[in-house]
Symmetry: C2
Subunit: 283 residues, 2 copies
């Protein structure tokens, strides 16, 4: 992966203003008190906008963060995306300024941050040839009130991702302390048993990915049975294949998991093509 | 509690410079990727400095964040505290700037933020007369790798603290999803059964408070048995008293828990006095 090209943002807006500094009393800094969305930009437009906004709305409601005007968010996102062509839009909602202590200010003054980045490189290769994946030791945090949300408390994923630096390994799978599979550090995981899709619930840990939702919908539409159920190492050992999803990667088939190789031709190809197509479609 | 007086910081230093803005690419904003300490200032000097630094060191090691020079931290803390007289020093260590994605930059450029605040009001009343406490619905997150640390992922405490706004209620008790007592939203909790202290472990959830450590040491020195063990609602129902600790409050005896009243004279008074004395002693 290119270094500068992948990591340096091109445009930054804070509350609609060109600015690259955040006041130090912001609660995102002190408590991770906020939410984010990572959105694929194609042709200068955000993909799957409605799904991202729906999740953001749900998260804001759950955290009690006043949601900014949706039309304003859409307009600013469109402006930032339009300057990017192909790339990534990162949208952060913070509960805004706060005093010392956990109690949220009432009313909170929500801040919106928008950053656009160039497209990560190597995505097409991964989609076509599949990826190598490892197991992570770092457990995913269990908290039913926070589970499913894309909130800013992401230390479990950070520590899991820090477990390896081999660029040939694209992702790591995380479990909770009970041994339940949660997902990748930055992706949702789907197992394929030859006939059915299996994926972990996101009501105790993990994130309800937008492409996860898309996958469940498209599978149902294609008549493929989907089981959202507790999965463990044994379920992984028994799977005849697996793939990863998120809004930027679309679908990454898993070519190898901790030394075990998979035949990608056994995966449900039509479904994967349809997911990828939908995930890369600007609204 | 006074509003402005408690919440507005007086001095802010970022990496030793007077500055009140943080670059928007800082990983504390994006992932809560950092640690903090909240330190009591008495007579212009930080209290229990060594305990705070020890926890910070442990946290930095566990998160893989390069620790800044300890002497520099001490010098800057002393400078900020010296301008405050009596108050609160908040020290934040962030993993610093980062690109998109969870993988920490190697090497990370740790940032240090120091904020000093005036002393919160009403502390003496609470120490003397005790406090009212409630039960929280929001569960504490379970993650053995993060447990014990004062890291920046604090949404569980934020949501628990947002459950009430009655100023007569000083604190709320949190449990994990298994029903195990974890602590207060901002404090550790000790139960007194008439002969022994009981407190939850902090190896799956919760924070290893500096005054928690102090309490365990002083109790042992006074010949009071301490049991660090799993506690649930039933254990709370059976306790003949309880108290809360943190670095700012020292000790708050609990006068009332969810409608049940306690006789504060049954608590181990000598121990509480000694904890308070040590917690308010500048190094």
């Amino acid at each position: 992966m290119g270094l500068l090209a992948d990591t340096e943002p091109i445009h930054i807006l804070i509350d609609g203003q060109l600015h690259d500094q955040l006041p130090v009393l912001d609660r995102a800094i002190h408590y991770g008190d906020g939410l984010f969305e990572t959105i694929r930009i194609v042709g200068g437009r955000p993909c799957q906008w409605q799904r991202h906004i729906d999740r953001l709305l749900l998260g804001a409601e759950r955290l009690g963060i006043p949601l900014p005007d949706i039309d304003l968010l859409a307009a600013e996102s469109a402006a930032v995306s339009g300057q990017q062509g192909t790339g990534v839009l990162k949208l952060i909602l913070s509960r805004g300024p706060g005093g010392r202590g956990y109690a949220p200010p009432i009313p909170a003054k929500t801040r919106r941050l928008m950053l656009s980045y160039p497209a990560p490189s190597g995505q097409e290769d991964n989609r076509r040839a599949g990826v190598s994946v490892r197991y992570c030791q770092t457990p995913a945090s269990i908290n039913p009130v926070l589970a499913g949300l894309k909130h800013l408390n992401r230390l479990d994923s950070v520590l899991a991702r820090a477990e390896w630096d081999d660029p040939k390994i694209a992702e790591g799978l995380m479990f909770d302390v009970t041994g339940a599979l949660v997902g990748g550090t930055m992706s949702n995981v789907f197992l394929w048993d030859g006939q059915r899709l299996l994926t972990p619930p996101v009501d105790r840990a993990g994130i309800a990915g937008t492409v996860r939702g898309l996958t469940l919908e498209l599978a149902t539409r294609l008549g493929i049975a989907c089981l959202v159920t507790r999965l463990d190492r044994e379920a992984l050992d028994q799977a005849c294949g697996l793939f990863l999803t998120n809004s930027l990667i679309g679908v990454w088939p898993v070519r190898e998991l901790a030394g075990r190789r998979f035949d990608l031709r056994r995966l449900p190809r039509e479904l994967i093509d349809r997911i990828e197509q939908a995930a890369s479609l600007p609204d």
